[in-house]
Symmetry: C5
Subunit: 382 residues, 5 copies
């Protein structure tokens, strides 16, 4: 395993396998199935209106409960999912459906966008290049990798809730925009904030694709120049990575599509124009993944024909050497026979001729050149 | 056959072939087409309401008939399908359509969900890893395998009927939840029970996928490290297994989809939310199967190029040895010729030179090193 | 051609080619394009009601005309299509559309189900294993093959017409059921009879699939054990057979689908439940064909890598032998050189040493063992 | 190029390239883009009613103008498209939309069927085997080829216009039927004539497919018997031909489909039954093309594994010869060494033994037989 | 990279990678992401009516603002996108939505057609062969390449805006037609102008396809004649180019399709007939790309089997030489053995026979001819 894993761009993932909730578990049972990426649960409350913006770290959810009614628009950013008990008060406060609760902490969900009566629930898998993360300690000096993390966004009429696995700073650009007054983000309703968050996630996909493109181009160059056995493992790892990437994005398309057609009042018409833009970008990402996959198939073809080419070359060397020297060895073998020249005048009289040896050598030189000429005409020295 | 079968993860199955009911049989004729997995037919009646739960084994169906009207909600769990005569009283009691009767015992149905006027009929193929079954005697010490079994669920207004081939304990988690009072399962109508059973079946699919993932990863590691001919048979077995798995799940998607759109009153709106969740999981399973299939194709590619690589390596060894020694053998052949040095000063005077032999040896050593240098420059020793 | 054809499971067919009606022929011109499979046209009239069933061979269609009005439900079974003039009176009696007439005798139609105002026209290709046919003389002692035959079924309000190419006894099971009184077949309207006939055709598909499965499993076992060149031809024949099979079934799906959605009164609601069952079976057949196709592709992969494996093995034998003996031959060549030991002490003094010969032999044995050890470590003897 | 082209079944075509109208040309500009296949434009007027049929060659379109109003139903057959000026009067007479004009002469259109308010415009690519054409001078003694030609049919309420590139006699069967009185063709409206023409075009497709089937079967037989390098070029040519064929037919399906659903009164309900038949045939053609494509892929697989098989055979010959003789040559090399038997009793005493030579020969014979036995057991002589 | 890039037909592009706007950027932020292709922003105003046409270069957008109201129909052609500040006044003048602004300058958009309330926004990727551009200095003497450029067209009720990256003269044919009075272009509304521009873009696609066809045919001929390793890189480059081409055109189809179904009044019914024509052409382009892709796959197959063929040929040469000479060398080795004829009459008496040497030579000649005959019969000299 160790041999293979080192070529993957995605850290910590397995295409098919994940910690599973036990079979027959009461549906809607929230059990965290990911690895613990963060030691404590961080809750940050961002309150904003057109004119004001405040942010504070909240230690107890009850504290949040007392605060939220007092503001018009708010965003509660929750980081860390391992401690379900800490999360439950917030879930209760917003009366989240048990299946939503389960999906938030059950890492490995397909992306989906589900409209409920009074909220919209979105699960996405964010894919971020490792060098776009704040905490660069882990990745220093290593090649760029991809970091995947499940993001859940819940849009209620006046509040947006986000749940992340780690404390990665992926939403910092949105926070910076929230800090700027008189932007559309500050003016618009919270549905626009949910759009801004989703747009950020989709923007990262393009960066993730760039990492993959880079790897493909490096590999392409490498395989054309000098194919080696490990290249095939890199191709295989790329295929796995692309399967994972596609799986992470694919169903977002249908989700967004049905969101755009939905007549619910959760998302306003003029925000929908922006969601349509996100939808376009998602399709563009999916197209790109498919194109990358084709390129990877093409790389495999190059690799395989590279192998065949090298085999041809090896065989050519062998054949040239063997074809030149085997007949010559036969010739020298003839004159190594011990027929007794004295027993008969027919028995190898060449051995006693004056120019016997040089003539034989000359003959062999001529044969060699004949062979070389033949090979050259066949284009074997191209 | 014996050689191939040992790599299959599924026990007892054939992709295309099954015992068939005879051609032209009266449609709706119930004939058990599976192998006898259980010696007798076990009938268990679970009665429950929000407050109570009782269970009893029933020996005669007529006994059941006398009991059922007395309870509000009940689940009749029938295990063992070989004895159609034992099953018929129950079928008659619920007035099952002849085609439903046929489908229950005719093993090898495509999964389907068919709404009738006063009942919903669901056929599924449950796939369970062998180590999740109670009866582990059969599988002790063997690698994990998959156990497939046809499950039929019939939802009527107050009763759920389930038909299984064997007495495997797959529904035990649901029974345990039924034993707990004040759960949603106890409170809700029987449509929620049918959901809970179906959800259990789908949960097992994920476990089945894990078994396949594991096999793929083991094989991947094996093929990269040291490919052997049997690996191809494992790849082929994996393909067959995945075809079978997909066939077992695929049509469930359409069935669930039309169930969700159906306006019948058999399934209540708030239970539909849960069925939507099952639907999502089924799609996730199908996606995973497709992804696994791609990985298996990729494994085949690795295997094939592994073969080519090994061929290249074998040829390189041959070519290096032959290319070095064939010319040298020619050289020593020259000095083995019997030209008579005394017949002419041109005839191999080297033989009588003072340093003839060591010079020849040195020459050959130089040629060898030249060759080796040439191969190194070509990267053949990489 | 003779070489290839022997591996086909289908007798007498060509995927692309068939006798064609001439270009520009008046559309609706009935010309029999199949080969003559039966010398005369057999017409059998089955009359039945809930209580009675009579059958008689009819020699003149006019006779039929006089008889039919007197019964409630009837089935006219026509076998043999070569004599269009014999068929025409029946066509006229039921006022069949010219295009229907053309399709009945024009062998090689795609399966289709076309509702007309007062009749439903169904064309199917029946596929029957040769050992399921009565007339087994042709196939005795031969491996199982598949027999394909075009079946046309015309459903009118009180009569069902069937047209077959040969006098094969494929519908005997239905006849036997007709002979049993008080069955649903006897009670129901003729639309149920048309269903029973169609269901029989589809049941035979499963038997046909079994023949294919068997061939695939035999071939699989053969290829894994000992691949030979003829296996590839069997794979190719299987592909052709599967293409033909799929072509014979594929469009039936759409036909049945539109029949089920059709609101015409030709087929009653409660018979539609049965047609839905046929539809399910057709989908199952198509799925199985696709799965078989995948398995055949997989067989090809096994075959190809089997070739590569054998090549590797051949090369390994060559390389081991050559690598061991070429250097040894060089060594013995050295001591075959004729340098004169008396001309110089440097000239092959080994030749006169006391242990010269055994030391050389020992050296060569050591070299051989070294080589063998090297190959073993490389895993070439695995 | 010359090497490749000879295997194509289609004469004069290029899949991707054609003479193009210049970029930015005024849309609707009629410029003939095909090669000049006919020196003059032939205009034939067919007038017919149920009782009468007359035909005449028309030299000036104005003549036609004066004639047409006098008849009920007419067909103007125009052959030769190179002289746009000659065609324009007819276009003007029927007030054809500029885009229709452009499409008629711009060879290389996708087939399409476009309903306009008062006319239906159909463009098709007719594909005819060369031996079905009148003018056989060009193809005498050559293998059958395919001739492609663009056919435009315009259906107006009382007149059908057809435009062909060459004067090929493809519509002769329709003309012969027009000459027969009291046929449906003579009785029905002109929409039935347009059907008859289209049906003729589609009938030719089946003949074209037969030519391809034949080529595939010939190639199949050839490749199985004795594959050669030119076969691959034939495979490639077949792929190109099938791509071209599919391109020529594919979009006809959608066109016919929308025509059948169109509610316009241009085509009467009872003629639509016939168009539905054409639609069925088009689907059958497309299916066949796809099946042919699969067969061609399968041929490629046979070809490639044929190459591998031959390589295996070559290698086997080499390996058998080398493996037998290399060790023997080593043995004879030993006894060619010049160790001095007189210097030591250890030095090759065999050379002076009484049976030394025959024993050595016997030993070598035994070794050879041992090798041969080994190879036989490995199945190399199969 | 340098090695690979030289085979690409597209200059300056990367399938997956492009300069990206920063993640989390305020949506609708216009940042130019392309490379600077033009040093200044050129704004050209074309005013036209049925009778008049004037054109002028505008230096300040405000100047444009003062002019536009005075004309009925106008086209503002903007070339050069790097200077967003220069473009903003025009955007403001037409009140373009921020997302439109972003899309105009954000190079790398998928083609799309978005109807807004009072405008239609179209983004396309124009693909032009390098020899169709005015500025041929860059491409002189080089093989034909493809130039890709993003074109945005905005249709408002009386004005059409176009945005291009470079000052390429691609729209010159439209300008020439604008200069001609009494054309449909001058008479019709501006929606017809937008059609004319789009039609021009699509016409260039056909030219682009011609460049690809040419490359494919050249490569085909080359690979059949004499395959070399660089051909594979050309195949790979073609695949990349075709992926890029498809990506550039693909989504235009959906855009046009929804435009045709749109009921907005921006495009008049009679102009829609022309847009339907563009739609047809786009489908034709997409079909052609798919066909080209298939041909390229076929090329790869030819290439690979060419490699195998060459390998076979090399192996045949080696095998023939080795098989002839290895046994002969063995024979001469026998007579090089030093068995002492004097020690025993059995010891190589041939050496002293009168015709020993010539008989041996004759024997070897016969063996050679036997071998050659064997190879000829096997067809190795074909």
């Amino acid at each position: 395993m160790t041999k293979r894993i080192k070529y993957h761009l995605f850290r910590h993932f397995s295409v098919g396998k994940a910690k599973r909730k036990p079979v027959g578990q009461i549906p809607g049972t929230a059990i965290h199935t990911g690895e613990r990426k963060l030691d404590e649960v961080l809750i940050t409350l961002h309150e904003y209106s057109e004119s004001d913006y405040t942010t504070r770290e909240i230690s107890t959810p009850t504290e949040a409960a007392s605060l939220i009614p007092s503001v018009t628009k708010s965003w509660i950013q929750i980081r860390g999912l391992h401690d379900v008990e800490r999360l439950r008060p917030i879930w209760d406060m917003f009366a989240l459906h048990p299946l939503i609760q389960e999906d938030i902490v059950n890492i490995g969900q397909r992306p989906k966008i589900e409209p409920y009566d009074d909220m919209v629930f979105m699960v996405m898998r964010m894919i971020v290049p490792s060098d776009s993360l704040t905490d660069k300690t882990e990745t220093k000096g290593k090649p760029r990798q991809l970091h995947a993390e499940q993001i859940s966004i819940i849009l209620t009429p006046t509040t947006v809730l986000t749940f992340q696995e780690s404390d990665s700073n992926v939403f910092d650009p949105v926070i910076r925009r929230l800090q700027t007054s008189h932007t559309r983000l500050r003016k618009a309703k919270v549905d626009y904030l949910s759009y801004a968050l989703m747009d950020t996630v989709v923007d990262y996909y393009f960066q993730g694709l760039d990492v993959l493109s880079e790897e493909i181009e490096l590999l392409e160059e490498k395989i054309i120049r000098k194919p080696s056995e490990s290249d095939l493992q890199r191709i295989h790892a790329l295929r796995r990575d692309l399967i994972y990437f596609r799986k992470s994005v694919w169903s977002l398309r249908d989700g967004l599509n049905s969101l755009l057609r939905d007549d619910s009042t959760m998302i306003e018409a003029e925000t929908k124009v922006f969601f349509r833009d996100v939808y376009d970008h998602v399709i563009q990402v999916i197209d790109s993944i498919e194109n990358h996959r084709e390129l990877v198939f093409s790389l495999y073809d190059i690799y395989m024909s590279g192998l065949s080419n090298r085999m041809n070359e090896i065989m050519k060397v062998l054949t040239i050497i063997a074809t030149i020297f085997i007949p010559l060895t036969f010739v020298v073998g003839i004159y190594g026979m011990n027929f007794d020249p004295e027993a008969s005048p027919w028995n190898m009289p060449e051995l006693n001729m004056y120019y016997g040896y040089p003539a034989t050598m000359l003959f062999m030189v001529l044969v060699s050149f004949g062979m070389l000429y033949y090979f050259r005409r066949k284009g074997w020295f191209k």
